[in-house]
Structures are given as structure tokens and as C-alpha cells.
Amino acid sequence: MESYGRRRFLSRVWRWTAGVVAAAGAWTTWDVLRPGRSASAGPVRTVSPEQVTQTGVLEISEMSGYLTRVDDEIVALWWRCPHLGCKVPWCESSSQFECPCHGSVFNRVGEYRRGPSPRGMDHYSTTTENGVIVVDTAAVSDGDPPGEESIDEPPTGPECLGSEAGS
């Protein structure tokens, strides 16, 4: 019986060792492939708060997004559509964001209006240092789910999307 016990012990040992090695391999692979904080993301110095107006948006390509404001609050939007990642351009004629890929539409502060996007546009967090808005592109928070809009600004004119878009 003693040798039986030893055999069973050894066979268990090698199985467990193999399992541990496999788990370590999987963990290593995941950790290697998981992206770290990308080199380009981080604080971006932009413009002074006075340059950000309440009537339109300011495109800042260094932060991949737009600056606008509601009263005293600066809003920094990432230009990536939460639907499938296309860049959402600002439409001057209608004063709203309109995505050309699948026709998602957002208002001036990035809140959801219509289309297949599951939520409003994502935000960056901002601070003001020495009279300059600093946008942290590494700190992104999800846009609000579809619902009431916080600003009352209906489209000001014809949309940039075709009439059949967003079906």
C-alpha cells in the first residue's frame, strides 16, 4: 500500500505542477498583451477658458476631442463615437455632433440624441492650471445613457447627414 500511496502522490504532483505551469503561462500571456497606459495619453495643455464659448465647440486634435462649456463648466469630449469608434465630426449647420458611420447624433455637450450609439460621447476630466485648461486624456469616463438632455438647444438647421441616414 505504501508504494501505491507514493505513486498516487507523484502522479498528483506532476498533474498539479503542469496545471500551475499552464496557469502561469496564461497569466503571463494576458499580462504581456494587456496594454499599459499608452505613451500618448496623459495631461494635455489646451487653451484658456475664455476661448471656449457656449455657442459652438473647439476642436483640439492634441487631445483627440472637443472643448465646449455649459455656463461655468468646461466640457471636454473625446471625439470617438461610443458606437464603433469613428471620429464624430461637429456639424456647423445643425449645431450637433453627427457620426457618418452609422448616423449617431449627439447634442453640443455630447448627450445622446438618436442612432445606434448606446450612450452619449465619452468625457475627459479637466483642470485649470495658470489660466490654461489641462485635459487628462488618460482619464476617460463613459457618456451618459440616453435620456433627458441637460441643455435646450434643438438643431439650428439642416443636418450634415443625408436624409436617409440613421435608419
Binding site: 494587456r34 500618448s40 470617438r80 464603433l84 469608434g85 458611420c101
Partner: protein, 243 residues
């Protein structure tokens, strides 16, 4: 004796082609098994498999296109550095300066599109023939993995030219992964190595495209062919006594 016959009968020749004289089907079978290349094939198949309507030869067409992609891809690798600073220029250089560069890129591109078509059509034909039924269930499963691998190969290759077509197609395609429950964001970020498609994405897709996925593909294709060979003998067990 012909020259090739004399070479085969020489000391060196016999060390390479090891089969003896061929007179009966049994000798032919022996010769078949002893050949490295032929041993991927069964010795005999049912007569109906010869007809075009049986398989439309879609399996062998897929394999030929894979070989074409393998070879043309080797040529392309000589001229391509996977970095956003160089990738696009490398393709332009290849197309305008390298002899047959444009042609080889065309071969790679059209072979890739045709392979996706051929693999999908192969699967469809196998379904309608009912060839996924026992004992071939598992070979069908391998076939599904091969279809997925083919799509992944094509998708990872799509980014490499680093033009507008590539960049935004990969952006849209990889964004779908983010909607997977629980692990979506993590999976998408691991796929494109960051928040946005960039230089880390390019090198990642390149490695997948030229090393990881082709390696898996070769392994699975061999497995697929091996099962096909085994099953083609299984379906007619009495044949072996009639060689």
C-alpha cells in the same frame, strides 16, 4: 532506362525513394505511405469523390490559395516594416520601385479575398452533402475553427498597409469587441493594445498575421487533412483486404 529511373535506382536515389518495384495495388499503397508528401492523402478514395459535383474541389482550392498567400506573403515581408512611420511608404515603394512588387501585392490581396470565399463555400458544400455526420463531426469542428482563423488572418492583414481604408476598418471592427459582456473593454484593449488604433496595434496585428495565426493555421490544416484521410478509410473498411 530513363535518366530519372537511373537516378532513382542509384544508391542515393534509393535512400530517398525507398519503395521497391511496383506491380500491384499493394505495392502502390506501400509507395504511397512511404512518401512524406503523399501520406497526407489516403491511398484510395470512393469513386464518387473524383466527380466535380462531389466537393467542387473547394477544399483543395482553399489549400492552394493558402499556399499562394504563404509564398506571396514571404515576398512582401522583405519590404515591409510594421511601424506607422514607415508602413505606408513601404507599400508605396513596393508598388512603384520593386520589380513585380505591385503584382505580388495583388496576388496576396486577391488570394486572401478568394480564400475567404473558398473556405466559406467549402463549408457550405460540406453541409449540403451531409459530410459533417458521424464519424466526421470533429473534422467539421476543426473546419469551423479554420474558417474563423481565415477571417482573423484576413482581418489582421487588412490593417498592415496603414491607409485610410485599413485604419478605419480595423477601428470599426475592433470596437465590436468592446461590447462583449464583462470582458469587452479589456478584450478590445488587448486586441488593439490601447484605446485607439496606433503603432502598438500595428506591430501586434503584424505578429499575429505573420507568425501566430499562420502557425495555428498550418497545424489545424494538417489535423484537418489527417482526419479526412482517416475517415476516408473508415467509411469503407472492407477495402483494405482487396488491395
Amino acid at each position: 532506362m530513363s535518366l530519372s529511373g537511373r537516378v532513382r535506382q542509384s544508391v542515393v536515389g534509393r535512400s530517398i525513394w525507398r519503395s521497391g518495384d511496383v506491380a500491384t495495388d499493394r505495392d502502390r499503397a506501400t509507395k504511397h505511405w512511404s512518401s512524406f508528401l503523399l501520406h497526407l492523402y489516403p491511398v484510395k478514395v470512393r469513386r464518387e469523390e473524383l466527380a466535380f459535383r462531389y466537393s467542387w474541389f473547394l477544399g483543395v482550392i482553399s489549400l492552394v490559395l493558402f499556399a499562394s498567400l504563404f509564398v506571396s506573403g514571404m515576398y512582401l515581408m522583405f519590404f515591409y516594416v510594421p511601424s506607422p512611420a514607415t508602413a505606408y511608404g513601404d507599400i508605396e515603394y513596393l508598388q512603384t520601385e520593386v520589380a513585380f512588387g505591385q503584382f505580388i501585392r495583388n496576388v496576396h490581396r486577391w488570394s486572401a479575398h478568394l480564400m475567404v470565399l473558398a473556405v466559406a463555400a467549402h463549408m457550405t458544400r460540406v453541409f449540403y452533402r451531409g459530410a459533417y455526420k458521424p464519424p466526421k463531426e470533429f473534422n467539421w469542428v476543426i473546419g469551423v475553427f479554420l474558417l474563423v482563423l481565415t477571417l482573423l488572418m484576413s482581418f489582421t492583414g487588412y490593417l498592415l498597409p496603414w491607409d485610410q481604408l485599413a485604419y478605419w476598418a480595423i477601428t470599426v471592427g475592433s470596437s465590436m469587441a468592446a461590447f462583449a459582456p464583462w470582458i469587452g473593454d479589456q478584450a478590445q484593449q488587448a486586441l488593439i493594445a490601447g484605446d485607439q488604433v496606433g503603432s502598438a496595434t500595428l506591430i501586434r496585428f503584424y505578429v499575429l498575421h505573420v507568425a501566430v495565426l499562420p502557425g495555428l493555421m498550418v497545424f489545424l490544416v494538417m489535423f484537418h487533412l489527417w482526419r479526412w484521410r482517416k475517415d476516408s478509410m473508415l467509411s469503407q473498411p472492407e477495402e483494405s483486404e482487396h488491395g
